[in-house]
Structure formats: structure tokens, C-alpha cells
Amino acid sequence: MSLRKVWKLLRERRAVSVAISNVILAGAVIVVGFVVLFWGQSQSTAYNNAYSQTMSSDIASLQEKLTFENVFYKNGATKWNVTVYLLNSGSQNNVTVKTVSIKNVITGAYVIWSSPVVLKFFNGTTMAKQRLDMAQEGYFLLSSTGSLIKGTRYSVLITTGRGSSFESTFAA
């Protein structure tokens, strides 16, 4: 565009309002477009983060594995104890024990539902962080008054903080 044309455009007063309205309209479209674009991006980012967290949680839950090294039942004079010895044989650290239940395998009746339990190292000291890292061993004690039915099979069901479940049985 030559300099003369530019000068002419500036000097001409006709259709100025149309030009201005077009500029305003284009500006508004650009602004609204950017707003919608950023909103859409934030929404998709939020969705991605949520999906990512869900997936990470599912993967971590999948990789959790607790092995029951020994489940020992002892019947005392007024109460009974069940000591559960665990090994984290999975590939996830920070495995926590959220709930533990003991139920009669035959009748399906729950005897005890404990939350939370106190995790200890095999040497008897209490775990400060109450979690089992990979290849770590630990145990907890469940106790209640009365006694279990002698000779009956009971199951110990552990639910971890990530939602995985592990079960073992013992005979009273």
C-alpha cells in the first residue's frame, strides 16, 4: 500500500463507523476466543490430572502385595489374640493397613472389624510411619474378649490404604 493511499485513508471520514465496529467486533472475538481457549485448556488439564491420579492410584493398587508369613492365634483366659506377620512382597512402597477384619469362614459372620491397627517391626518396636516399604516385614496384633470357636477356620482380611485386599486363613 502506497503512502498516498494511507494518507487518503486517514483523511477520509466515510465508513469510519463500520471500520471501528469491525475492529471492535474482531477484538471481542479474539478476546472471547482466548478466554474460551484458556478455559478449555484448563478444563482438559484438570481432567488429565484427575485421570492421571486415578491411573497412578490404580497402578499402585495393582502393584501392592502383602504376604502372610504367619498368622498365630492364641486363646487366653479372658481374651484371644491373633498376631499377623506380614511381608511387603509387592513393588510399591508406603503400604498402609487401613482396616482388618476377622470372620468365620463357615458362617461368614464378622468377629472383629479393626481400624486402624498398630504396625510393628519384627523386633517389636512400633513403626513410626505405620507403613510397609518394599521387602519390609511387620506385624500387628488383634485382640478381643471371649474366644473363637475351637477348630473353626477364620479368615483375616486386610484392606490397604490404596484399597487392595489380602486374605489368609487360620484355625482357632
Partner: protein, 354 residues
């Protein structure tokens, strides 16, 4: 040329007119929005699904490894002192995957008490290369490196359930050696509580305190003494069933033989029990302990009961003797549990060359 002119005309027409410009920009934004948001979400979802699939695949592989892990534990146990259980075992990795032993559990079914040994300081597998069993590898816990587990109130007459735990979470029960059981029935109920392994009867010529040709030695059944001191090695096993008491052999335990001196006469000589460390006979003596079911190499050599004044002196067959067959006896003196015990094993014949 014509086409270029037409293109230029079209461009000028497009840029020269502002009509519909906002719609074009709006459309561009909309397309950008769709591309960035939807494509981003789609690709991210795909990526997360791929991660999950990898995790599932890895987990499946781990489950497969757990199922394929096959460690066989064969051995025996003894209770050398109340509350202490000594476990000897051959751990064989019969599976295709490497296995690692992390714990040993002993459950006293008679007293309903239990113990375990997972402490690095107390187990022979403190070095991890000991614990890791490659496919086909055999890990031997012999009487020298038996794993000891503290089980409250455990006694030698109790029954035990013993199992190992692997790092993958499998448990490996200890199965008792069948051969030992058979010998138990024959020996313990018959001629005493100590049995001898006939296949590992060896002798060594001795120079000073050093065992020559150690550890192979020569077959104990044909002895070529040449007038030099010799050491007999005999593998003894305690089969005190069902009490499973520990047998302690004192320094008066002796291997003795009658061998031909001349065609008309025979002569006897004793080989007293000694301690051997590596290929050296020790000048001092500590009682030899035989735990139940645990084979133990026992050495006989000294001219008199150890410790001898002036240090160890080995017994020999006289050089002036004649070749011939000689019966061999082991006279054991010691304790079984806390009671006195003695046993004479007329166990073998040897051919003395000179």
C-alpha cells in the same frame, strides 16, 4: 503468469475487504480450541492407558514368576539347647526363576510357640549372594552353618513345623530327609543312637599336624600308613529318636583296631578323637557335639586322649607289620542330653597295606 495474476487478485480481494473477518478469526480459534483440548485429552488418555497396560503386564509377569518359583527345602532340625532350634537344610531352586530367601519360621506344634530368623547378624546368608538362589542352584546349610531359631520353651521331644519365606512371598516347607528317617528306624531302635556313613570313611596321612591330600584323602578301607601317623575321618549322625537329644563326645572317644603284626599274632592300637580345623589337627580339644539328624565329620588320630602333653601326636600302623585285614571299632564316650552315654560301633573292616 496468468495463474499468478489471478492469485494476486484473490489475495488483494480477500485482504481488501473486511467482511466476515471476525468469523474467520472465530473459526480459527474454534479449530485451535478443538485441536488443543480434544487432541491433548485424547493423547493423554492414551498415554495413561498405555502406562496402565504396562503395569498390568508387569504385574502379570510378577504373578507368573511367583507361580514359577519353586524352591525345595530338604533337611532336618535339632534342639541343641532348650529354646534353640538348629535347622540344617538343602535348599534347591528347582524353578526357572531366581529366588531369594528372606525368613525362616519354626513353629513348635507341641507347645504352640514359634520363632523366626530374619536377622542379618544371625544367619549365614548375611551376604546376599548366599540367599539368592539361581535356577538349579543348591544352598546347603550344614552342621557348621546351621540356622538357629529361638523358639520359647522348645524341647528336643517337640514336633516342629518349619518353613522358609521367599522375597516373592512364597513359603517353602522343610521336608525331612527320607533316608534319615529310614536309618532312624534301623539304628536308633537297634544298636544305638549314633550311625556312621559308610560312604564317607576316609583316612589322611599326617605330617606334623597337617593332613596331607586334604580334603580328598584316601578311602578308609585300604590304608597305606607306611609307618606315618594317620587321621581317620568318619561321618557320624545322631539318631536319638524320638527324644532327639544332643550327643556330646568326650576326648576319651576312640577308634581302635586289631591288625596283623605277624601271621600268628595281632596287635591293637587306638586313634583318639581330635579336633581338625581346615587341614590342621588342633593341639587342644573341645568336646564334639552331634545334633540330632545332623551329619558331622569326626576325626580320630591321637595316640592318647587329647590334649596331649607336648601337643598332638598321631597314631600309625607299625611299619614292621604285615599287610592284612583288620576290624575297626569306634568306642564313643560322652553324654546324651545330660546323661552319660557310651556306644561301641564295630562298624567296618579295613585292609592295612603296611
Amino acid at each position: 503468469m496468468k495463474a499468478l495474476l489471478r492469485l494476486r487478485r484473490n489475495v488483494e480481494k480477500l485482504t481488501g475487504s473486511s467482511r466476515g473477518f471476525s468469523s474467520v478469526i472465530g473459526t480459527i480459534f474454534m479449530v485451535l480450541l478443538v485441536l488443543t483440548s480434544i487432541t491433548g485429552v485424547f493423547l493423554w488418555t492414551l498415554y495413561q492407558n498405555t502406562l496402565y497396560n504396562y503395569a498390568v503386564r508387569g504385574q502379570n509377569q510378577q504373578e507368573l514368576d511367583v507361580r514359577n518359583e519353586n524352591v525345595v527345602a530338604n533337611g532336618n532340625y535339632s534342639v541343641p539347647s532348650p529354646g534353640k532350634v538348629s535347622v540344617i537344610a538343602n535348599l534347591t531352586n528347582a524353578g526357572p526363576v531366581t529366588a531369594q530367601i528372606v525368613n525362616l519360621w519354626v513353629f513348635d506344634t507341641s507347645r504352640q510357640t514359634y520363632g523366626f530368623n530374619n536377622s542379618v547378624g544371625n544367619k549365614p546368608w548375611a551376604n546376599l549372594s548366599w540367599t539368592t538362589l539361581k535356577a538349579g542352584q543348591v544352598l546347603k546349610f550344614t552342621s557348621n552353618n546351621a540356622t538357629k531359631v529361638t523358639v520359647p520353651n522348645a524341647n528336643s521331644t517337640d514336633s516342629f513345623s518349619i518353613w522358609f519365606v521367599t522375597a516373592r512371598g512364597n513359603t517353602v516347607p522343610l521336608t525331612k530327609s527320607q533316608a534319615n528317617t529310614l536309618i532312624t528306624a534301623q539304628v536308633s531302635q537297634g544298636i544305638g543312637s549314633v550311625a556312621m556313613d559308610f560312604s564317607s570313611f576316609l583316612y589322611y596321612n599326617v605330617s606334623g599336624n597337617t593332613l596331607l591330600s586334604y580334603p580328598n584323602g584316601g578311602s578308609g578301607y585300604i590304608v597305606n600308613s607306611k609307618g606315618n601317623a594317620i587321621v581317620f575321618k568318619i561321618r557320624l549322625t545322631n539318631f536319638d529318636y524320638p527324644q532327639r537329644r544332643t550327643i556330646t563326645l568326650f576326648s576319651f572317644s576312640v577308634l581302635w583296631s586289631l591288625f596283623p603284626q605277624t601271621p600268628q599274632s595281632q596287635r591293637g592300637a587306638p586313634w583318639y578323637i581330635v579336633n581338625v580345623n581346615g587341614n590342621l589337627v588342633e593341639n587342644t580339644f573341645n568336646n564334639v557335639t552331634l545334633y540330632y539328624g545332623v551329619p558331622k565329620d569326626v576325626y580320630f588320630s591321637a595316640q592318647s586322649a587329647m590334649p596331649m602333653a607336648g601337643g598332638f601326636k598321631g597314631q600309625s600302623f607299625p611299619q614292621q607289620g604285615i599287610p592284612g585285614t583288620a576290624p575297626v571299632n569306634i568306642a564313643l564316650i560322652g553324654e546324651i542330653g545330660s546323661s552319660p552315654y557310651g556306644q561301641n560301633l564295630p562298624f567296618a573292616s579295613i585292609y592295612v597295606k603296611s
